[in-house]
């Protein structure tokens, strides 16, 4: 029977929740890396026991952890005894080293972006928000970081190099941090075209490469953001999350700061599909594993009140790819609920029926084993949940 492994990153450590395919009884392991912020964990599609984790701290900076046994044991790649010494006798463990590319050949250094007060500010690495393993090679993994940039490792996380063409695009000086920082938080890899990657940055917008990361272009046409002097500007939009179904890589869905959006041409243009949502502010958006037109969002009251409307936690589902939405409430608290659901805290499994999962800032991880019709909390009292990823295992 298939199994499900849910990787949960929280403010105070990582937790791994496992169940068989019935998804009724769950085992909880953790906290792993207790006391550290775990922004994200994700397993390789090629080798599901290969899991990468972003472990970070305001005191001690960024750590990359890797497991090769499904999360039982972890190590910092590049730091094992056999890897300690380079020929000159120096340590070469550097898995935690994220340094912006300033080389004249590839760096095309952009030294500044827009700061909160409108002045220009130098790029400063703070943390890894999202790790996206390649679809072909478990040693190849991408990292979306704050301040916004895209890095990759081709040696299992031992060393990291920036794909500087993104930050070096001529729009960089117009990028600006959102309230959570200037983070690259979403990385979509196209299984049918390894040279195509779409990413999203808050608050810069969405960008796409079609040449494996050498050159990038903003894909924000159709977005409208009233907080910008020019609401339809090429960049500067606070995109909270983008998602697609692997079988339809040209159809992208977006939860923007306000507005739920859709593109049917790989992001070249967008249309609003907020439809009858009670509020179109929110963070996560995800797509059903077997129904490419079935999508999920969690409406949040507003950008200054980060909790559900009227204290009622509701996932909204559209089976029409947007515009027509239904509230999913069964099993979710319908009074006195004032949690948030962050952008990387929703995921789906690929069982039948499809399982939907999300974590809250109140420490609950909710699961639905029936495509969202009903929900149950797997855990109630974790630290604030930053991210949820799901692996469906044979």
């Amino acid at each position: 029977m298939s199994k499900v492994r849910v990787l949960v990153g929280t403010r105070k450590g990582a937790f791994i929740l496992t169940s068989d395919g019935v998804r009724k009884r769950w085992k909880v392991s953790g906290p792993h890396f207790a006391g550290w912020e775990i922004y994200h964990m994700k397993g390789s599609a090629v080798n599901p026991d290969r899991i990468y984790a972003s472990q970070t701290s305001g005191w001690f900076g960024q750590i990359i952890q890797r497991s090769d046994d499904g999360g039982k044991k972890w190590n910092t790649p590049g730091s094992s005894p056999e890897e300690l010494k380079s020929p000159d006798g120096m340590s070469k463990g550097e898995s935690n080293k994220f340094v912006y590319d300033t080389s004249p050949e590839t760096g095309k250094p952009l030294t500044t972006h827009q700061w909160y007060d409108g002045t220009q500010h130098p790029w400063e690495f703070k943390r890894v928000w999202h790790l996206e393993p390649s679809l072909q090679d478990p040693d190849h993994v991408y990292a979306g970081v704050e301040d916004a940039a895209l890095f990759e490792s081709k040696d299992g996380g031992k060393s990291w190099h920036e794909l500087a063409g993104l930050r070096g695009s001529d729009t960089g000086p117009k990028w600006q941090p959102g309230a959570g920082g200037m983070c690259l938080h979403t990385i979509l890899l196209d299984a049918s075209n390894p040279n195509r990657i779409s990413i999203a940055i808050s608050a810069a917008g969405t960008f796409r490469t079609d040449d494996g990361g050498k050159t990038w272009k903003p894909i924000n046409r159709g977005l409208h953001s009233q907080f910008l002097p020019d609401p339809t500007a090429e960049v500067g939009h606070c995109v909270h999350r983008i998602a697609f179904h692997p079988s339809r890589p040209n159809t992208l869905f977006m939860q923007k700061h306000w507005d739920v959006m859709r593109s049917d041409n790989g992001g070249d243009s967008w249309q609003e599909v907020s439809g009858n949502l009670p509020t179109d502010f929110g963070f996560p958006i995800d797509v059903h594993a077997h129904e490419p037109e079935t999508i999920y969002v969690v409406p949040i009251k507003s950008d200054s009140e980060h909790y559900p409307l009227k204290g009622r936690l509701r996932v909204y589902r559209s089976r029409a790819g947007g515009n027509e939405w239904e509230a999913l409430t069964k099993g979710l608290p319908q009074r006195n609920c004032y949690v948030n659901v962050l952008r990387d805290a929703m995921s789906v499994d690929s069982l039948e029926p499809c399982g939907i999962y999300f974590g809250t800032t109140g420490g609950q991880v909710y699961a639905s084993a029936d495509s969202g019709d009903s929900w149950k909390a797997i855990v109630h009292d974790l630290p604030a949940v930053l991210s949820v990823e799901v692996q469906t295992l044979p």
């Binding site: 550290w36 005191w59 935690n96 340094v99």
Partner: protein, 98 residues
């Protein structure tokens, strides 16, 4: 031998219990102690001082012999008691928050 006390989170990361003992070439300075520490425990690189600038991370402090040495130059000699191993070089995560 130089004795170094790591904060709990870094002890966990480096998988050490209690104090760490290091062979450090003279002169014994903040830089030479941290160089030796990072050579023995590469996973600590970047956690105490920046990978590139080698500057102390803002919320890390260095104490020794009852003094806060955090703002001393990295190449200044550490107190004799540290160099002789009779007192530890203490690395702490600054108290922050409330």
């Amino acid at each position: 031998m130089i004795h170094v006390v790591l904060p709990p989170h870094l002890r966990t990361l480096a998988r050490v219990d209690g104090e760490t003992e290091l062979e450090v070439k003279t002169p014994v300075t903040q830089r030479s102690v941290l160089d030796a520490l990072e050579a023995k425990y590469p996973m600590l690189r970047g956690t105490i001082r920046d990978h590139v600038t080698q500057l102390r991370r803002p919320m890390v402090r260095f104490f020794a012999c009852g003094e806060d040495l955090s703002h001393e130059p990295p190449d200044a000699p550490l107190p004799d008691a540290i160099a002789k191993g009779s007192e530890p070089f203490v690395i702490i995560g600054a108290i922050a928050g409330g």
